[in-house]
């Protein structure tokens, strides 16, 4: 799991790569979102393009990230989610709470104007 963070038009883009799973990937996701919040960001896009897989711990962190940002009046959205990951996120229905964009450009456009 590799995580890196960029800013585009006031939107924080977090690139996730690999497995968002218990012990490492979930922690990396949490740390990245927390760092963005601490930096004052209230609009975070998680770019899933290179995510290979996700387990329930990764999903729990996804939910926690959403809630933490929501409490602050901000937004966490997802983009470029591969079909296999979408399937799992649909199964547990956690995907229903997020805005999900087909690609990063659309996500940034929607969130920077919003």
């Amino acid at each position: 799991m590799n995580v890196s963070t960029r800013t585009r038009e006031g939107v924080t883009v977090v690139d996730l790569e690999g497995k968002i799973t218990i012990g490492r990937g979930d922690v990396a996701l949490r740390d990245a979102v927390n760092a963005a919040i601490d930096d004052g960001s209230r609009a975070v896009v998680l770019n899933f393009a290179k995510v290979k897989s996700m387990d329930s711990s990764g999903m729990a962190e996804l939910g926690a990230a959403y809630r933490r940002m929501d409490d602050l009046g901000g937004t966490v959205a997802l983009c470029s989610v591969p079909a296999n990951v979408t399937e799992i996120l649909r199964m547990t229905q956690i995907i229903t709470v997020f805005d999900v964009y087909p690609d990063e450009d659309e996500a940034v456009a929607a969130m920077s104007s919003g």
């Binding site: 012990g23 387990d55 329930s56 939910g63 926690a64 199964m91 709470v97």
Partner: protein
Amino acid sequence: MRKVHLSLASEYDNIDLVDSVTEACLRFAGFDETLTEHMTLAIREAAANAIKHGNRQQPEKIAEVVFEIDDETITVHIRDQGEGFEVEEVPDPLAPENILKGAGRGIFLMRQLMDEVSFAFDGGTHVTMRKERPVAGDQDEAGEEE
């Protein structure tokens, strides 16, 4: 008779070994990529629970994963040395108030992704999962490709 038995110290990093060995067994058994991915997730969830909730990450406690690959079925046992739990009390992860929380999602995924999942308690939690193998014609080919 084909049995693959993993015995692992209760450390999260060892779940990567569970993943790899699971994929090896499932490809041999002729499962396609999607089924392999789904079943690997179900097995990972049970192994993670054994390490986290059962053995509480105490490395001297052993988590075990056993694959029994018969001609028609693959059976997977996941065992820990923990205190067990009440399966009936696990919350429903699809209840609206739980969608954003963690609890219950692992067991829910196991049930969604495998044909059969059962829990027993004998000096620890013992999860048993079953899935039918794809029909014989495909199996041999996939086994050989490996």
